[in-house]
Amino acid sequence: MPVLLRVFPELRTQPLMILGERLLAAGDAVMLHFNTSVAFVACVQQGWVATGLRLPMLQKMLSTPTVLDQITLQSLSSTEAEKAVHERFGVLEHRMRLPLDTLTWELAATWFPALKLHPHGDLQLRLKRLPNFTRLGAVGPLDVQLAAACARTPQSMTALARLFPGREQEVYRFAVLTLLSGAAQVTPGDSALPVAAAPLPNDAQRRGFFKFLLDRLF
């Protein structure tokens, strides 16, 4: 998160970012109280969040600048977090638990396209796992393409932005969302790495085929 904030300082004022920093500082797991009610239990270490609140409500809550004044956090051990979820949701526990990466992506995606990003420097992105694209609301073919590139080998965000002229904001958005959701990590190195491409037989013909296939799919 510090690297992300260094490159995109405009994110500093987003309530979700501030809350995220507080969550990370709170330890393995945390219970979040909004006013006097429990809003959710989260275990960052294991990558889940349990909440009875629906996504639109969480989105609305975390887009309100004053929300942070009404939130208190209670640090828990992983065992205490499990117990808290069980006590709170009982037999519904299974349905109330969501993957933290998917939820974080959906919450942060609401910043865009209103938020324009102006990177201060570059990032080398490497995907640890693909975002759960089929369950995410705001993704497009470019996200899939960028993910495929970053899953293979670390990619320079700046180099990727150059590859897609006119779509730089989408590339920056992808970098922010994958890093914030934990799907990607920043790897060391300042210089742009070449983008990998598999050696393919009948390259030109096959490239044309890929394009027609992708057009057909999306």
Binding site: Q46, G47, W48, H94, R97, L98, P99, L127, K128, R129, L130, P131, N132, F133, T134, R135, P141, L142, V144, Q145, A147, A148, A149, A151, R152, L163, V195, A196, A197, A198, L200, Q205, R206, R207, G208, F209, F210, K211, F212, L213, L214, D215, R216, L217, F218
Partner: protein, 181 residues
């Protein structure tokens, strides 16, 4: 006109036949047979040789879609169907006893093919599975030295299947695959 091939594999009941149906432009040719062995506990009929569908592209090219039989005793078909294919779409049943073990089985069987082409994994029946299955499968893919191209997917959804296949295609050639012209 060029003809390309995509293979859908996975255990019994993962949704391979449905996935091929979701993408095919023709009525899928299916070799379903009444299940007679332990498969019967999972579903009434099962694919015994292959499922076959076709996607027709605007430039005249065709993508032939093959669903492999899920039962291990028909595994001789796996290699035949995978020959010269573009890559593998592996569907894992999220609520199976051990989806990670299923992943290992299929990666092991198709390893040389995957290394030469590409792999994308769809976790089906995800609602009945735990939130953690996708992350467990992703970690196992990493430990097997594969890009963690895994996501939850409903085989009945054309959009989900398109995202899986699109991911596979971009994985073969991440930048140029989607390049204009």
């Amino acid at each position: 006109m060029a003809v390309y091939k995509l293979v859908f594999a996975g255990p019994v009941g993962a949704g391979k036949t449905t996935a091929v149906q979701a993408l095919s432009d023709i009525e899928v040719v299916s070799t379903e047979s009444v299940a007679t062995d332990e498969t019967r506990r999972l579903k009434r009929t099962t694919t015994v040789a292959m499922d076959y569908g076709v996607m027709r592209l605007d430039n005249g090219d065709q993508v032939h879609l093959y669903g492999t039989p899920g039962q291990k005793r028909f595994d001789f078909m796996w290699e035949i169907l995978a020959e010269n294919a573009l890559g593998l779409v592996l569907l894992l049943k999220g609520d199976a006893a051990d989806p990670v073990a299923d992943l290992r089985t299929y990666v092991n069987e198709f390893r040389s093919f995957i290394d030469q082409t590409g792999l994308v994994v769809g976790i089906t029946h995800a609602e009945a599975a735990g939130w953690q299955v996708r992350q467990q499968v992703a970690r196992e893919m990493q430990s097997l030295g594969l890009p963690s191209a895994v996501m939850e997917a409903d085989p009945r959804s054309r959009a989900h299947m398109a995202t899986l296949v699109g991911t596979l295609i971009h994985g073969l050639d991440p930048v140029r695959a989607g390049a204009p012209g």
